[in-house]
Amino acid sequence: MTLSIEKIEKLVEPARVHSSVYADEEIFRLEMERIWGRSWIYIGHESQVRKPGDYYSTTVATLPVLMIRDTKTDQINVLHNRCGHRGAIVTQKQCGTAEILRCPYHGWTYRTDGSLHAAPHPGAYKDTGMNIKDAQYSMRSLGRVDQYRGFVFASLAEDVVDLSDFLGELKHTIDNMCDRSPEGEVEVTGLNCHRFLHPCNWKFFLENLHDAMHPMCAHAATSDAVQNYLSDLPEGTKPPAEAEIIDPFGGSYDFFDKMGVTALENGHGYMGGKKSIFSHFEMYPEYLDAMREAYGEERMQDILSFNRHNACCYPSSTIRDGIQSIRVLRPQTVNSTIIESWTFRLKGAPEKLLQRTLRYSRLINSPGSMVGPDDLDCYYRIQESASNGSIDWIDLHRYFGQDQSEASSLTAMGTSDLGIRNQYQAWLDYMRQGESQ
């Protein structure tokens, strides 16, 4: 039975949420339908499908989809990855190239725009009342597909606002990641990414990105290990490159408060702005030279002083422009989520930049990282309590009632729960929309 809107509204209060939003299977089902089914979901980057026919499979709201470059138009399509005939998943490959997609069960074939190419033995449908050319028998496109500077998004629903309006202020984050390349473009470093299994609800991961109260506690072990190592080095030794990445995780409450948090429309938001955990990163002279040549001194300074951390594109992804990585949420069930981590190369930038991007990814995002498992274990602990009913309400009161209003955003001290409260505002807005139209 579908939960009534009145009941759903009772689960989210201005500064606390009911624990069932993390553990209830019916709520998860409704989230997939109303949030993930009615917003723009990050699919991938166009450099994953460079040539016509290149494809990449993923999911939207747990449904298998295929991002594929059209062999005729060269545009990028996002199709439901299932045969229009009997519904079998057409390809189980993560990525590949195909001029024609063929269902392995009865051999129905599809063009790269999803239209039916051929169905074997078509005479058998004669006078049966079935028209195999009807769009319902194609590999249907998702409701909307669009991209912003190479980042491809799609929506299951047709009646959504344009991608540009959905992203709103977050476009500056994507712009900044691209503009950090002297050529204004990025590309994926490989066709594979980290896929880190998170045995918890998808929202814990997203909330943690705007939770600046946790690093100094949850990551204290790693910071301490680095400090301990550094203190063992002979005096005057240059700290290793890893230190600049891990050090900020031991930052003080004051450090994170000053960084600030900004809440945007549609549940989006970001930490930092002008100052973030990346702002102290070493600037390599050869990179500055390349940037200066491409943009001029003033514009270069503009680009490099822009520093957002964990810009969250609700509900599906989180972008770090300063380190060129995107993490993508692929919810599987109410308590299982796959977190993809993609890294990007700044075209035309010195190799050192890519090495820092990769170093960051290994240290923070990889399943082999020392940092990621500590975050995950904290989500897991709340997931357990939410599932076993030992807690009813989960608190979001930090700096409640002290937000500063800007033009189209709210800002607060960095350790505020503002970012999370804002995500729940969007959650309510989506969930209130009721039954599918």
Binding site: Q94, T189, G190, N192, C193, H194, R195, F196, L197, A218, A220, A221, T222, D224, A225, V226, N228, Y229, D232, P240, E242, I246, I338, S341, T343, E351, L354, Q355, L358, S361, R362, S366, P367, G368, M370, G372, P373, D374, L376, D377, C378, R381
Partner: protein, 161 residues
């Protein structure tokens, strides 16, 4: 016993590969690190076809510095994820020399590693050790681990495999 035609004694090499696994089984990271050369590193690629750790992301790519940091982080009292027992058992087979010159050789093998971390998980794949002769013994200049499921969703990997 079998001897390679090369000047590299497979018994000595096999003992080292097994000793390395034994140190990891005991989670004795200090002794484990001492098996590496000063410029030695541990690498677990994300992609089985990956040629080097610089072209693409890796699950692990750690030099002696990071090994030292990880040793200090392992079972740290402040780490939430390390409050659970972490136990492991490795079985290595098919140890053979695939390439060599006078002072170094490449040793390939396959492994199964059972890790207890919250639940019991099996990791499996192939290993490649680049060994360098230092005095009378060998040291590990590079250990590459290719998981058979490197490109699949993975749980946290809490200790070197």
């Amino acid at each position: 016993m079998t001897k390679q035609k090369s000047a590299h004694d497979l018994n000595v090499i096999g003992d080292l590969i097994n000793l390395e696994a034994r140190y990891l089984n005991k989670a004795d990271l200090e002794s484990w690190i001492s098996l590496f050369t000063e410029d030695g590193y541990y690498w677990m690629p994300l992609d089985s076809g990956q040629k080097n750790p610089e072209e693409h992301d890796s699950i692990f790519y750690e030099d002696r510095i990071l090994m030292e940091i990880r040793k200090r982080n392992f079972m740290h009292r402040l780490s939430p994820s390390m409050q659970y027992p972490i136990r492991s058992s490795r079985v290595i087979s098919d140890i053979h020399v695939s390439d060599y010159d006078e002072d170094s050789c490449i040793v390939e093998s396959s492994f199964h590693a059972v890790i207890l971390y919250k639940e019991q998980t099996v990791f499996a794949g192939s290993m490649q050790h680049k060994l360098r002769r230092e005095g009378d013994a060998y040291k590990i200049q590079m250990k590459r681990v290719d998981l058979i499921n490197a490109d699949m969703p993975l749980p946290p990997i809490m200790i070197y495999l």
